[in-house]
Symmetry: C2
Subunit: 339 residues, 2 copies
DNA sequence: TTGTACGCGTTATCAG
DNA sequence: CTGATAACGCGTACAA
């Protein structure tokens, strides 16, 4: 299928290809009349500029990419919406891409930067633990949101915006302890997780220690590696399993809101009352938790602020070409009826 | 920044560029030993194949794209997961792209097909009402899921998989009527909507007519065009507004589950009991609705089946190069505690 | 202000 | 099996 090219347009208008190119790219050195004529012809034809050829030549593009790890994490929705606004305001365009499961964050970046001549990258989620040294291969400024980042090498223009997962988690569990709970179960991520899931688990452990409570391995449910992480389904199944093994707990904390929602269903199905029999708390601050009955206690991440801050950081780095200190924003413990 | 190219690799290995290319692309006509040597050198270097150049030259790529309209629609999550599986099974790769607000479905397709040498496209959501004639510009087979498609022109290899929104909606409202409700409010999409939102509204009207009930304009809440469509927030606000204007209804039907969840919150806040004072029903079959208290009556779309069927249709069209009949799958009315 | 010609990094072709 | 070379479609010096 011989696609139509700028050469065809040029011929059709009786001008040179470069003139067409200039018209297409809003260059100034072209007579308005010529420009209009060309654009008109383009509009009439089915001509579509070939982006591959474009990007091959271009060096620049005022485009930034949002690389999402778990596209079905509803927590990201709000952030994406805010980011869209902020990026538009800077007159940049952007697009969202999903990183597949096996794909490494750094490789994905390198590939896409070349391909699209990006000016910057925003990561949503992802695990950077295993790519510390490789981080400096990312050839444009980047910001990681809601991800755990190792120390960023000096020579690389990257930053992060996140909350202190460990601290906030500890805070929540601490609150549960003060409410008098002695046996607190946790629905954690899988054992090998080195990401925020692990941080939240650590916070749980620290809180127990600080309250002189023992850490019982049988109250720690690890996520099955094969299951969709952080999901309602996995929360449901983990709670079912836990209930089968023991009923000796008065509170449960899940490292994500989706999981606690699933877990609540399992609890209610088993005839447990929330919070009378078992108190339940989640993490993230999804809007859903407030709509629930009983409404669910959770750690609310400042999603909009994280998004805004991330975009701001990114553009600052793009302008100054200098690395920027990472930001850790405070989350808010929202105490509701479930505890 | 002079990026490293296959020419560099070729020089380094003492071979021609085409040999490197062959090694990289798994061609058969290359000595295994040579191949190994080259791949090794590549792995050691920081070489990253330039996709733009690749796609410029390539004609083919065993790749399909999923174009999603509302990336934050949780209804799509399940579908994406299933599609991923099915596409992998065919040994194709895929990627997800988000269509921006102003972007037209056909334009998005045309652009991306050229750029990525796609073999096919799956649309998730979107409105095709305004692009009937232009549909045949899409140069590869495509399938639209959960979207309303006008008649597909003869010369274009496209299909759809969806439910009958009008019928299912009518079915649900019909059920509400049979439960004895005479005043049924609806939270609809915006007035100009020509998509599935409109279809669901039509179903509502038909059901009322069939049950000899009047259609009261003041019981129809249209979505504010500026608000995020189908969202919890808009459902919440619409219900608040409705309650301020009238309390003269005993049931409410929202055209999406998210909206009804928001609406329920508004109802509960106002002291209404569900379903005693007001019955509530949604549409889509999001997992959340089952986890809710009270669990919410809804029309469950067969998400997994739609996804599977869509991928199957697409591959069939890719193979046969022939258009395929669209599929309309049955949804299931799930009656729960909220009605 | 406009046109010509070259090169971006690959892959396909074809001759060895 | 391998290497030289011609496209792919566009942007941009440079010349006109």
């Amino acid at each position: 299928m011989g696609n139509i090219t700028i050469r065809d347009i040029a011929k059709q208008c009786g001008v040179g290809v470069s003139t067409v190119s200039r018209a297409l790219n809003d260059h100034s050195d072209i007579r308005p009349e010529t420009r209009r004529r060309i654009l008109e012809a383009v509009a009439k034809s089915d001509f579509v500029p070939n982006n591959s050829a474009r990007n091959l030549k271009r060096t620049d593009s005022k485009t930034i990419a949002i690389l999402v790890r778990e596209i079905d994490n509803p927590f990201f929705s709000v952030m994406i919406r805010v980011m869209e606004q902020e990026i538009r305001r800077e007159k940049y365009s952007f697009f969202i891409q999903h990183m597949e499961n096996g794909q490494d964050e750094v490789d994905a970046a390198v590939e896409i930067v070349e391909e699209k001549r990006l000016r910057g990258i925003i990561y949503l989620g992802g695990d950077f633990q295993s790519c510390e040294e490789r981080l400096s291969r990312i050839p444009v400024p980047f910001v990681a949101c809601t991800a755990r980042l190792p120390d960023i090498p000096e020579d690389c223009i990257g930053s992060y915006v996140t909350i202190n997962d460990k601290k906030e988690s500890r805070h929540l569990v601490d609150y549960l302890c003060h409410e008098g709970h002695k046996k607190i179960a946790i629905l954690a991520s899988d054992k090998k997780d080195t990401n925020i899931g692990q941080a939240r688990l650590e916070g749980y452990k620290e809180a127990l220690k600080a309250n002189h409570l023992p850490i019982c391995e049988n109250l720690i449910c690890y996520q099955d590696e094969k299951e969709a992480a952080y999901s309602m389904e996995s929360g449901y199944r983990m709670m079912k399993k836990l209930l089968k093994e023991t009923e000796d707990f008065t509170a449960v904390f899940a490292i994500s809101d989706l999981m606690i929602i699933g877990a609540c269903k399992a609890l209610l199905e088993t005839g447990k009352r929330i919070p009378q029999d078992v108190a339940a708390a989640g993490f993230d601050g999804l809007a859903y938790t407030g709509f629930f009955e009983p409404s669910i206690t959770t750690v609310v991440q400042p999603a909009e602020e994280i998004a805004r801050e991330a975009v701001a950081s990114l553009f600052e780095m793009i302008r100054t070409k200098k690395r920027r200190e990472g930001k850790i924003l405070p989350a808010k413990l929202e105490i509701r009826k479930s505890t």
